[in-house]
Amino acid sequence: MTKKVKIIEFLVRGALGICALVTLITTIGIVLVLGSETIPFFEEVSITDFLFGTRWTPLLEPKSFGVLPLVSGTGMIMLGSAFIALPVGITTAVYLSEFSSLKMRAVIKPVLEVLAGIPTIVYGYFALTFITPILKIIFPQTEVFNAASGAIVVGIMVLPMVASLCDDAFQSVPKALKEGGYALGATSFEVIGQVIIPHSASRILAAFILALSRAIGETMAVTLASGANAQFTFSPLQSIQTMTAYIVQVSLGDTPQGGIEYKTCFAVGSLLFLITLTMNVVGQSILFRYRRSSK
């Protein structure tokens, strides 16, 4: 190698390395930014008041900083969306990997990709103008903004993710196991229930965890459809507020920088980040372990 080539090689490697560091810096940036506003927040409000308080009125007097109403709102959206995304996602995956012809697969797969690609603001609009009116016909006491319609669209939104991760899992079940089941005279229902699903149980779990973490972080759909009324309730037909919707609400107002209202955004953001990060790490590590063992 000539000297010139060596120098270029060194420079190229350095430049690429710096680019790869951008992602690391992003993570460090997120932690620093969230931390730098959250720590001062906890100097003014005690952590126990924040985590276990049931009144969230940081923008009104008398101010109260109990985050549980936002957590219950987010939890309702998560559970409601799980109620749709998990059963439909897993049966879609079963259908795709076990029953469907190649032609059907060529229809269903793109449909799922399109559903996954539709912006969340569109789902929010759909919830507000289509699903809520239907809910109102069925349950007349439904409020204009309600947790249920937000949960339904978030469920539709994360469904493709559950379906595609479960499909991958089912596809990787060894053929010998499946054929063994069929050779013993099992019906496909029995093979699926007693061979395929148990064999891919941990990956199905990972799919559920990752999808629910997406549901928790969803913003625009729940902001539009579920309202901005932070109350500690478990009634799906009432208006609620999620953690993400609260951050949007504050951003839309004219909150001065440095005030306690401004800092609440970051405290709520930190909580959101910690919850989703934990779920993602657990989900990814299950998938990662699987990938390594399959090599």
């Binding site: 992003t26 049966t91 879609t92 795709l96 469907s100 603001i121 229902f189």
Partner: protein, 286 residues
Amino acid sequence: MIDKFKSRKRTEKIFRAACFGLTFFSVLILVVLLFHITMTGHKYLSWEFLTNWPSRFPHKAGIKAGIWGTIWLISITACISIPIGVLSALFLEEYKIRGKLGKVIEINVANLAGVPSIVYGLLGLTIFVRYCGFDRSLLSGAMTLSLLIMPVIIVSSREAIKAVPDAIRFGAYALGASKYQVVFGHVLPIALPGILTGVILALSRAIGETAPLIIIGALTYISYTPESVMDEFTVLPLQIYNWASRPNEEFHYLAAGGIIVLLAVMMSMNFIAVMIRQRASKKVKL
């Protein structure tokens, strides 16, 4: 014995029907969603709608500012995120670094992809808007969106690079090429269609992003087209949100009109991406 057999058969039939039915739930939802939006939005779709500024009066309102803002924002985002994302992917795939750093970056990218977009908004607000002093400009918005879609670009580019057969690398090395010549002269050109597909899909996701832009404060009344990267801006999804969040029904129809335009842009991008993928899969065969 025969009874048992019959009941097993019946369960099997019911199960198959249930799987089929629930699978078609997704297709049904997509059809209903598109139908509902077309029905509510079509009457506002006109040339004036595309060329008017936003307005207090629904029949005079248009999305010109949103369209131009989106074009500007996505172009800048592409200029920032594509080079950094693709070069990172090349580094991770081709310059496999020994030791922990490579693994840390890999796990980090996977986790960044799962961070809620609103958290990126808080990051952009603090770093770009306030600390760097870019204010609510296109530059702040584009940098925030770039960080948001970077993990997507890296993951899909790595897949494309991984799919390049080793024979090509070894062949180039055997002719005396050095590492960077192999990477940029052979691996990158072959992986390019795959990379392009991933990049287009990532950008089409960025077009629909709303939450981080609201957080950095981009939801303002704009009645001019941006002329530099430091100008304030609005984008299509923000305009849609603004209209959809008003109680007046007429504005909901406007929002649906905006959604039709947004979806049309996104779907044509996805179509192009699929076209590139199909053409490339026919071309390279070893």
